[in-house]
């Protein structure tokens, strides 16, 4: 997919507004996982606004999006509202009334394809969906966002073996590497690198990008979209809490808990810049 630099820049700018609106909402909801949402935001923004993902309710036509790192599922909501899949009233009432929206995604939320929250399931489910689609000659993409934390789950590697063996190239894997677990950095505890080599050893084609550089994100997404025969993974180096001064690269940005009004003001100020 060819997108001009001008359009990429517009998408980045549009994303800033969406992100600010989203965090205004989060300041109402006062729960969730801001650090993880901010690490994956730019990629999700590019996916939706760049037209990489076909959004809608008909799963025979539209793509599947599995936010396997389910604690970041809320990043999808603004885009699903824009597309009319999630009712605007649910978005408006979230945090102040009755709404279908939750911090973790679940199948009761329109446009959320898979219930998530426990880690390590997304790739296996994606493999099942892609396999069934192949049986039925349904040609849609299955996007899966996983976190590096999910690489600690054995089921992730079981699924990688399986989808690689079956050459499920309709599965587009996006790996968010923000190098922050709740209790520290992977390299200080149970190291994960070299992730690229591990993926290639599993017979995936891999590219590694800066997950906040839009030119690189678009190049990476184009890489995913042009898979032929072998599944591809885009490994994105990201920054947890990206864009909020006191959150960036901080493990404590994982949770909303502890964010008082002063901090919420800083969040909105920083994201408005």
């Amino acid at each position: 997919m060819s997108i001009s630099s001008k359009r990429i820049s517009e998408i980045e700018q549009e994303g800033r507004k969406i992100k600010l609106d989203m965090f205004r909402k989060f300041c109402q909801v006062r729960e969730g996982h801001p650090g993880s949402i901010l690490s994956i935001f730019d990629i999700v923004n590019a996916l939706y606004l760049g037209g990489f993902i076909q959004v809608g309710r008909d799963s025979n036509i539209n793509d599947v999006f599995i936010m396997s790192k389910g604690h970041a599922a809320a990043v999808q909501y603004p885009y699903l509202v824009r597309e009319g899949v999630i009712d605007q009233r649910d978005w408006d009432k979230w945090g102040s009334g009755i709404s279908v929206l939750r911090v973790f995604g679940n199948k009761d939320i329109p446009g959320i394809d898979v219930t998530s929250g426990s880690l390590g399931h997304g790739l296996g489910i994606a493999a099942g969906i892609a396999l069934a689609n192949r049986m039925d000659d349904i040609d849609v993409n299955v996007f899966v966002v996983i976190s590096e934390g999910e690489l600690y789950e054995g089921s992730t590697w079981e699924a990688l073996l399986f989808l690689s063996h079956h050459n499920l190239d309709n599965i587009k894997i996006i790996l968010d590497v923000n190098r922050n677990m709740i209790l520290g950095r992977p390299e200080d505890h149970v190291g994960l690198e070299s992730i690229d080599e591990k993926m290639m050893a599993f017979n995936l084609e891999a590219t590694r990008i800066n997950g906040h550089n839009y030119e690189e994100i678009f190049a990476g997404l184009n890489f995913l979209m042009t898979a032929q025969g072998r599944p591809r993974i885009m490994i994105a180096d990201t920054i947890k809490g990206k864009g909020v001064s006191f959150m960036e690269d901080k493990p404590e940005s994982h949770y909303w808990a502890g964010l008082d009004q002063e901090k919420m003001d800083i969040i909105l100020r920083d994201l408005a810049l």
Binding site: G124, G128, A132, A159, F162
Partner: protein
Amino acid sequence: MNYQRDSFISELRVQAANNQDIVFLSADFGAPALDQFISDLPDQFFHLGISEQNMVDVAIGMAMRGKRVFSYAMAPFVLMRCAEQHKLAAMMNLPITTIVAGVGFSYANAGPTHYATEDLSIAMNLIGSTVYTMSDASLAGACASYLSVSPEFCFVRLDRMPGDDLFSENVIDITSGYRSFFSGKTLAIISHGYLLKKAHSIVMNNSQYQSQIKVFDLFRCKPVSEEFLREIAEFERVLILDEQITYSSLGIYLYPQILRGRDSSKVKSLSLADNYMFQNVGRDGLLSEAGLCDEVIEKEIESLISL
């Protein structure tokens, strides 16, 4: 002597030949009937490797796309190792049948890693699950036929060893969730699986028992049918048998439903103690050491009848 697994899979093969949405997943667990399934319907079979967790996740994905998924592996691994995956399937209310092979002390020669003497509790405690336990091959075949057209989120617990059919000449009504043998009215024996056959055999070999006892094969213990509860309500004395540890046994689940209005001293449950058994003495030897041999069961029967 017939194998439950072969009966189940053979019937499923017949159904799957006419319905391409039926798919069979195995985590490297086989059966002669599965060889035939694979040979006849290779596009509807997927070997997942020895990765039970991924098998359940893949089953979730396929079921989301409308496939009627049957996944198959050895009992302790496909239930205990994958509890969270099953929970996810339960949350999404997906019609996946998990075939749980080799329950109880089926793998007596292998030791406790292969025993499934606590698996019932996992299947029972998954919200929205339906739980079947087969006591013979004809029942297993009937169950496969039923589930292939009426898919549900369920677990079908199979015995490893072959055996004779109890009632093969009769049509089995899967929807009722139970069947009964003999027509006594003094004592109801409720069981499923291997111990159901043991109870059946004990009664069959004693003409006096046959006029006193009715044996209930509760092959669907969740949910228990109202019809079954109504029939059990007619009995003052009840004996429940299960090849599970007490905390995972039929007795634990049935007590709240059948004790109401009943003299609790006339309801007994025999199950396994809360420990691992490493003795290499065969299945009946293990049951004997666990206090579930024929003699103990008969003693309990006598005790209840004499009350």
